[in-house]
Symmetry: C2
Subunit: 258 residues, 2 copies
């Protein structure tokens, strides 16, 4: 099994290291990850600037390829110019902090896996629910088991799995649930501050407002200490509104001369 | 009508200027746009650094607010800290270059409108099909007519309209079509080059491979010189695969101890 690993926390992240150690038991692992932390970069790709690829060493041994770009860049250049052929699976993570509900939209971890899905490679994004997680052993083992299940069941083209794992010892985890993206979203607050020169600046903070109340949603599942597995895709068409809008008579916009 | 305008080409873009001139005929326009070009940033938001807001002047007159962040940042901070209340509509654009098929995923223009939809504000992303477009008059007029139609018909919460307009004189445009996101995607190529110091670097290029062959898709519609209007949303759940995966028995991943 040829496995490509990436993340958005950067190539020196302990979550990526734990994932690599576990997945090396399954097959050939190639690591291509951002030089620096790329949280909340969404599905950004680098077009206006070139990318560089640097060999990254850990304890004196070659560990992987560091790219001075985004998570999506790492998947593209990793497959095209480092591996030169698609891997059997891409695993992105293990991210510090959950990627559920609206956070999926902003997540670099998910976007790396999504870029793989765009390239027709089965992929999984894995996050643990705490930014302070220290023990990734269960999350890494779960990722490995899921990777094997994906290989066995075949993933439909254009789909990836978004996995969120409670930051708890295995015996305190309630189980695993197949879920949908939740509706919880941020109540944003920009903190207004002044720099040493008296100039205003604004820092994004806020609270995630819980709109999810059933175990069918990723956000509620992790609150109840379940592992959440959500299939997501990149067809953004809102088919329900598409049907509704047939009655809008858009053609009137064109005939109406101003 | 209170209107918030943003884009990803930056506050000095002629496409944004043309849109502002036209929409000022409809109501009160507030402009909040990135200081610099932010193409292909996707739905990135700025969390690790603060944002600054600068008054931007054009020909000696106040024009709008420049934010040193991403298109999604502009919508968040524009609504929270500049307007202090939601506008009636957000219009993002007019972007230089089409945002159809897979490009929707990477687009900053679309992400600005999507951020508005997340904040429950009706929104429209507008792009013209050429990077060299000079005449935005039809695209701006069409955006204004569509904004009025959206206000009249009410947009379902969580939906935005992604609009692509051929870079042609109005009398050469075939008409307007309600479309779905196409399946065309990039065959990426990273050009390998050497810097003046002999070090390798890689620049993303590639060709958009046309997988769309019907006028129901955004990509084919613009190739046939139609204006394309696609309703999109941010529920990324792949419901078809969700149903398929019920037979995967994910619970076995948890029982299976390693």
């Amino acid at each position: 099994m040829k496995i490509l690993i990436s993340n958005d926390d950067g190539i020196s992240s302990p979550g990526l290291n734990a994932l690599a150690i576990e997945l090396k038991k399954l097959g050939d692992v190639t690591i291509v990850a951002p030089v620096t932390e790329q949280s909340a970069v969404g599905h950004a790709i680098t077009m206006k600037y070139p990318l560089r690829i640097t060999d990254f060493y850990k304890n004196g041994d070659f560990f992987g390829y560091a790219v001075d770009g985004t998570p999506a860049d790492c998947i593209k250049i990793g497959i095209r110019n480092i591996m030169h052929e698609p891997p059997d699976i891409v695993v992105s993570g293990i991210n510090l902090g959950s990627n559920t509900a609206i956070n999926i939209i902003y997540s670099g971890t998910v976007s790396a896996a999504r870029e793989a899905a765009i390239m027709d490679v089965p992929s999984i994004a894995v996050s643990v629910t705490s930014h302070e997680a220290k023990d990734f052993s269960f999350a890494a083992k779960f990722s490995s088991r899921l990777a094997q299940m994906v290989a066995k069941n075949k993933m439909p083209a254009g789909t990836l799995l978004n996995v969120n794992i409670p930051d708890l010892p295995e015996d305190q985890i309630s189980g695993v649930l197949l879920t949908q993206q939740g509706k919880s979203k941020w109540d944003d607050v920009y903190e207004e501050r002044k720099d040493p020169y008296g100039q205003k600046y604004y820092w994004l903070t806020g609270n995630l407002v819980q709109h999810d109340t059933t175990l069918e949603t990723d956000q509620f599942a992790i609150r109840k200490n379940y592992v959440s597995v959500t299939p997501i895709h990149f067809d953004l068409t809102d088919y329900k509104t598409y049907d509704t809008m047939k009655s809008w008579q858009l053609e009137n916009l064109f005939k109406q001369k101003s």
